[in-house]
């Protein structure tokens, strides 16, 4: 199969999945208790007003018509209006995306920078103190709920040590960059960095632990393969055997696992944003859930699903590119 065909197939599958997500969300909304018009208007609205809203929103139509119209809206990027704030859902989603991306990218960087060296050290010094240390760390990392970890980081590094601020961040990355460009000042950037450190550590720890474990076990497997001995036999320096051959081959399958774990990262972001009052999508989702603001909730979840599917297609393409055994033509 050529790369083009592969991509077309994956994209079609992805569209199917997103359709599934939209449908599930619609279904959940349909079966959820409570009348939408009442939710929209709040308690104490007059019956007449409620009836008018029902008519206006098409809530009196048969369910399949509602579904069809809903789907139609989604296709053209019209996610509807928030019941609570009466703003366009698209805008409410888009304005919160940068903060979440900043957090997710920072957490991923934390994870990769710590985990891969740790996994390599662990695998190449098996049953030495360094390996035990890394194993213990990764065990703790995958066993600690990240909201609790976040609170403890706030307590220890924020409150007791006073190293990091714990309030809501005053400046986003975009604004910090603007300051840098306009005034040549890195001050805002430093503030931003100070505020993102604890959330990034909180969200990144689970991934650090997971990648450390995967790298270690993958590398131990890989080191036992015959080509490693053959590479040593031909006199190749140990560094090259370890990194150019073994680590590279170890990372190829790990990439796909990480793609699948992206859902976990986004779920973790919801929690982390709540703990740190981080103005991202996750926090908005929790707010929307609390207010039963269905259009906003649906919008955010569908957006997350689209992001997840897209990144997984990219990851699969990357895997195919990196692994010549499946790459053909």
């Amino acid at each position: 199969m050529t790369m083009g065909k592969f991509l077309v197939r994956r994209i079609l599958q992805g569209i199917f999945v997103i359709w599934g997500v939209i449908t599930v969300m619609f279904g959940l909304r349909a079966v959820s208790p409570g009348d939408p018009a009442t939710l929209m208007l709040g308690e104490g609205a007059t019956q007449e007003l409620i009836e008018r809203v029902r008519e206006q929103e098409g809530l009196n139509e048969p369910i399949y018509i509602q579904y069809f119209e809903y789907l139609q809206g989604m296709v053209v990027g019209d996610f509807g209006y928030s019941w609570r704030s009466n703003r366009e859902v698209e805008a409410m989603v888009i304005e919160r995306v940068p903060a979440t991306i900043e957090l997710a990218v920072a957490a991923t960087i934390v994870a990769i920078v710590i985990a891969i060296p740790l996994g390599v050290i662990s695998a190449t010094r098996r049953n030495e103190p360094a390996d035990y240390g890394a194993t213990l760390f990764s065990l703790l990392g995958i066993s600690t709920p990240n909201f609790w970890l976040g609170l403890m980081l706030i307590l220890v590094l924020g409150v007791w040590a006073g190293l990091f601020p714990t309030g809501r961040r005053p400046v986003g990355f975009g604004q910090a960059m603007m300051t840098l460009v306009q005034y040549g000042s890195v001050y805002d950037l430093l503030v931003w960095l100070q505020y993102i450190t604890l959330p990034a550590l909180t969200l990144g720890t689970y991934f650090t632990a997971l990648i450390t474990r995967l790298t270690r076990s993958g590398m131990v497997d890989e080191l036992g393969k015959e080509y490693v001995m053959a590479s040593r036999a031909k006199g190749l320096p140990a560094v090259l055997v370890r990194y150019k051959h073994v680590l590279r081959n170890t990372m190829i399958p790990i990439i796909t696992v990480l793609g699948l774990q992206l859902g976990t990262l986004l779920g973790g972001a919801v929690i982390t944003e709540t703990v740190f009052n981080w103005p991202g999508l996750g926090l908005r989702l929790v707010d929307a859930l609390g207010a039963r603001d269905w259009p906003l909730m649906q919008g955010i979840i569908v957006f997350i699903a689209i992001a997840f599917v897209t990144i997984n297609i990219v990851v699969d393409a990357l895997y195919n590119y990196l692994n010549p055994q499946v790459r053909e033509g």
């Binding site: 599958q13 997500v21 959940l28 709920p145 990240n146 909201f147 976990t264 779920g267 919801v270």
Partner: protein, 331 residues
């Protein structure tokens, strides 16, 4: 099928390594705590109002703090001493932290094991059938699985809880009924909807693994032979396919118990829990008073970490000893 070789392998890896032993000891102690919580507890975990004479919550033993209280219309700072009545102190509504810690173990383990059990019951049959028959059935399942995986588990669980609400069933506590623990709550809240929801968001991992196994097993000679004798599909599934796909399912189940315990804690932290006895709920309660009374969040957090570590240690042991190839480590 658990063969003799696998059993001896399990024994050997258990004997050789310290970690599975540690995991087993930890888990057994936590289960013990949960089972005998009414006997071990010193106070009714739901009873409020355990304050000192100035009206401030107690700190844990060996710890002092300064509380701000209102006296004659003014806020004054007073030192608060611990008491041996409440060894881990009390929380901001004056409940005994130690007793709540014990009862919290019940909720975590109940949700973890029951949730995994239900996910197994949904996922394994679906996966086996899809893998065994293949074709359209299989395609359908895989697309459903893809869709489920496109939701972060936590997000889907939140959405489902939004629909189902959060109710719990109150099951009478036999220890209290038998009169072994006076003054303890007479029933245990079992957070029913949370259990069902966590099962609904995790069954797909079991279905994927079971499908993969069934797909491989259906091409084995013994299955072909059984078919040629005219054995019914249902019998083949039960007698051949299921027993031979147990190993990875067992390992996955262990991983999922840990994942579900964490998921339950997260849901409770966000306020989606059937009961206030949940550790996650308690951590959220302590969040606002983290600066002055950190123990309220710290104690239940340690409970979660120890429980999940114990399950993960046993899971690692099973994985190493049984050596299946599974990717699912969802949380």
């Amino acid at each position: 099928m658990i063969s003799e070789r696998v059993k001896s392998n399990l024994k050997q890896t258990f004997a050789e390594s310290l970690l599975p032993k540690l995991g087993l000891v930890l888990l057994v102690s936590i289960v013990f705590m949960a089972l005998f919580a009414p006997v071990l507890a010193t106070h009714d975990p739901t009873r409020t109002g355990h304050y000192d004479e100035q009206g401030a919550p107690y700190p844990p033993l060996g710890h002092e703090y300064t509380a701000e209280i209102v006296q004659d219309g003014e806020i004054v700072e007073v030192p608060v001493e611990p008491t041996s009545e409440h060894i881990l102190g009390t929380n901001n509504v004056g409940q005994d932290v130690y007793s709540r810690f014990l009862y919290g173990a019940r909720i975590s383990l109940l949700v973890g094991f029951l949730g995994t059990g239900i996910a197994l019951l949904i996922g394994v049959p679906i996966g086996l059938i899809a893998g065994y028959y293949g074709g359209r059935v299989d395609d359908g399942l895989m697309r459903i699985a893809d869709t489920m995986l496109a939701f972060p588990a936590l997000v889907l669980a939140l959405a489902l809880l939004g629909v189902f609400g959060q109710s719990s069933i109150h099951v009478p506590d036999p220890l209290v009924i038998a009169g072994l623990a006076d003054g303890m709550p007479e029933s245990v809240p079992v957070p029913g909807t949370v259990i069902i929801v966590v099962a609904l968001v995790t069954w797909v991992w079991f279905a994927r693994v079971a499908r993969g196994e069934a797909l491989a097993i259906r091409n084995e000679e013994y299955v072909k032979a059984a078919k040629s004798f005219g054995t019914k599909d249902r019998t083949i599934l039960r007698k051949h396919v299921l027993p031979n796909s147990l190993t990875p399912i067992i390992v996955l189940a262990t991983i999922q118990v840990a994942a579900i315990i964490l998921l339950e804690a997260s849901l409770a932290y966000l306020g989606f829990s059937g009961t206030t006895l949940s550790w996650g709920y308690e951590i959220e309660r302590g969040q606002g008073i983290l600066r002055s009374r950190s123990w309220v969040s710290m104690v239940p957090g340690i409970g979660i970490v120890l429980t999940v570590i114990s399950v993960n240690l046993l899971g690692d042991w099973l994985r190493d000893a049984l050596d299946p190839n599974i990717e699912g480590e969802g949380r």
